[in-house]
Every structure is written in structure tokens, then in C-alpha cells.
Symmetry: C2
Subunit: 229 residues, 2 copies
Amino acid sequence: MSFTYEYPRPSVTVDCVVFGVDESTLKILLIERDVEPFRGQWALPGGFVRLEEDLEAAARRELAEETGVTKLYLEQLYTFGGVERDPRGRVITVSYYALVRLAEHRVKAATDARDAAWVAIDDLPALAFDHRRIVEVARERLRGKVRYEPIGFELLPHKFTLTQLQTLYEIVLERSLDKRNFRKKILGMDLLVELEEFEEGVAHRAARLYRFDERRYRRLVKQGFNFEV
Amino acid sequence: MSFTYEYPRPSVTVDCVVFGVDESTLKILLIERDVEPFRGQWALPGGFVRLEEDLEAAARRELAEETGVTKLYLEQLYTFGGVERDPRGRVITVSYYALVRLAEHRVKAATDARDAAWVAIDDLPALAFDHRRIVEVARERLRGKVRYEPIGFELLPHKFTLTQLQTLYEIVLERSLDKRNFRKKILGMDLLVELEEFEEGVAHRAARLYRFDERRYRRLVKQGFNFEV
DNA sequence: TCAAAAGTGTTGAGCGTACACCCATGC
DNA sequence: GCATGGGTGTACGCTCAACACTTTTGA
């Protein structure tokens, strides 16, 4: 079967930069390509957009197919359309970035991918195409966005300690924060619910657990509240 | 001549939301379509991406062709790829937004356009496709970005008064600002050069003119400076 | 009892905000 | 001389940044 058009058309793909945080490192999800070009190299999960599916749907489908990751925070990042970015010809890529709770996502390789793995963002292998550049753009976007929207919680377990939250910000922002000031600020926003639960299995005083109150956040936003770290 | 592919491909277009400020109104540049679909309706300038040109180049070319506007601040906005957004079939649109000094851009219609005109953003006619939505997204982006990057100057003449600058911010941010505080803040950033020139032809005390010092701005940024209004 | 991290308050400086009057100019 | 906008200073409150010690717990 084939398709004929009056004018030439580019191919359109979606690629995803999926972020996860593991203890103290920012990681992204990569696949090892099992098809040409760049067979055997690491790349971002992604693939061709089908004519009958929306862009975001395509991104979610490819992620599920190649890595098994399904529910996640997903947002469009940027569209890369340089003429020479794919050896197969003109390919325009709409990129997305995603945030997941790493512990909840054991990955498994599948379609078009020999393998899928979480890799520390500061220790990436050579990537196929211009995927390195896409990762950089995604990282910058994350750094910018995490400060004025409460998306950081997407990277933590639903119940977390204040230290975990602070560490997360330190990792993403790449600088250290003052513990007292951080707690004052975060708790002052009145977005966290103090639980009657504590850490377990630690060899020191157990920290209290909190959860992010999405509902309350939305209510506050309507009243003009602005999240900011 | 025709082009045949093994899999179906979407068409890819670029569309531009070009902003200009006229005294006290935010305007955008529209064209009246001279081709189907939506012939005779107003729409954003834009068109199909050629295989041998980058996305941004395509945006600039279409703008020049349809409206005569050439030098401008241009930045990618968002990619719209809904399945049903174009009656001709699957069309993915990479949108851009642009800022121009309105006075310097007398527009003239051309290719594919009967007419081109500046239209107040609060008084838009019905637009073709989902262009209304694109305009909304662009406006939000402008509102957000103008506060932490000095792009507002792209909308003013090279030499401007502080009142013009303040009015610009009031228009874009849709709220009024305190004159003394605004001046203190802007002048305190040390980004404006005080000229020995003044307004002319006004029936009251003539205001001093300033210009934005791009060079100085870049130097400050390297030292960690953050623009913010 | 020791190690490890949890948890907590105060102070000073700088910044944002609110606010009102005199000045220069053209007509 | 009057109308119009240009231009300026101060005081208060709040937020941010810097900083160190005590408490709790498990091993």
C-alpha cells in the first residue's frame, strides 16, 4: 500500500524526555534502538505520528509501546524541524517531556527497542539524532517550570518527607537550599497536608510524611495565588 | 508531479501571530485568505513548510510573502496537531509569535492573501481554522514572557519615553502600574540609556527619550542578572 | 552513648508598595 | 494662566537570606 501527494511532505514524529528522580539523581528514560538508523544506539522513546491520532496521544502510545510507562504528567516541549536532523530525510519532531514517580515505573523494553533503561542525566551515552539537544532543552524547561508550578510533586511518591521534597528541588535546580527557609516557605503556602504517618526503617529520627493537596492548590490559584519556590 | 510514500503523512504548516502596539492597543497582523478553504475569511499569516527549509525560515518566508514584514523578533510558540483542525485533512501547524515595531511596518497584501491588516486583539473577526485558539495561546505566552525577558522593547520605537514603556506593559499585562515605582524599578536595572533628546510636538512638557542597551543587558545576564518587571 | 538526620526562631537588609505634589511646556 | 502630562521621595511592611542548636530515634 502507498500514499501519493501532489507536494512532498515531511514525516512527523514525537519524542519524549521522561524524567524520574532516584534518591539523589535526575534520570531520563532511554531506549536502545532495534531498527535502523542508529540501530543499537540509545535514543529517546518516540516514533511516527499516525494520521488518526492527536500528537499527545501519539506520545503516550509510543511510551507505552516502547517502555511500558503509562500514566504520567506530559507536556509539549518544542518542535525540532531542522532540515538535516534525520538521515532518512525530512523529519519534524514534536517533543514532549514527562514526569513520573520512578519507583512506580519498572520499565520493560518492547516494540522497536532492544532495551529500555533509566540513565542519570549527567552521565548520558551518545544519543541518536539530535536527541542530546532535545534533552538539554527539556532539562532547562524543567528547571524553569519547577519553580513556579507545583509539578515537582509528580516526581515524588504521593507521601513524602520535607527533606525528600527539598532534595528534589536541589537536584532539579542544581543548587542547595537552606533547610529552615525552605520549610518555612513551603509550609507557608498551605499546600501540603501533614499526615499522621512517618518514615520507616531509618536509623535515626523518622520524618513526618506529607502529601500535596491538588484540590487546595487549584482553589488557591483561582483566588490569584502564585506558587513559587 | 507527485510524491509517493509507504505510509501516509500529515501536511505541516507554520502560522504566525505577529504582535504590534499602536498607542494604546495591542494588535495582531491578519490576512484575508484568497484561497480555499475559508476563502474570504481572516486568518493568521502562514503556509506550508517546504522540504528544504527550516521551520523558522518557513515562518519568515510566509510572513514576507503574505504581508511584506521582514525583520522581526520571532519565537516558536506551540505545535497544534489535532486531528480535525483542518477540513483538507491532517494538518500539523507549528505556530510562531513575533513582535514588531508597528510604525516601521506598513503592511501590504500579496501571495494567497487579498488583504493584510492590523487588528485590535480585543476586537478580532471570526478567524479561519483554530486560529482563535492560537492567538489566545500566543497572548498568554506574551503576557508571561514580557515580565521576565526584555522583549517589550521589540514593540516600541528604538527611542521611547518612560511613559510609552509603562503603557506598553500596562497593555500587555492588562493592569495599571504605579508611575513612580515603575520608573524606579526600570531605571534601577541600569538597562536604559538616557538620551539628550526629547519628545517633540506635544502640548505639554516634553518627555526625555531613552533607548534599551542590549549589549549591557547581555553582559549583566552573564553575571547572573535577571530581568523582571 | 553515639551517629544521623529531624525539627525549629530570630534578626537585619533589601524590596515592593502605597501615596501626592511641584515642574515645565505649549497654547 | 491654564491644562496637560513629566518628573520626583519617603515610610512602612513584608519577604528573603543568613545562621546553630536541640531533639528524637535506632543501632
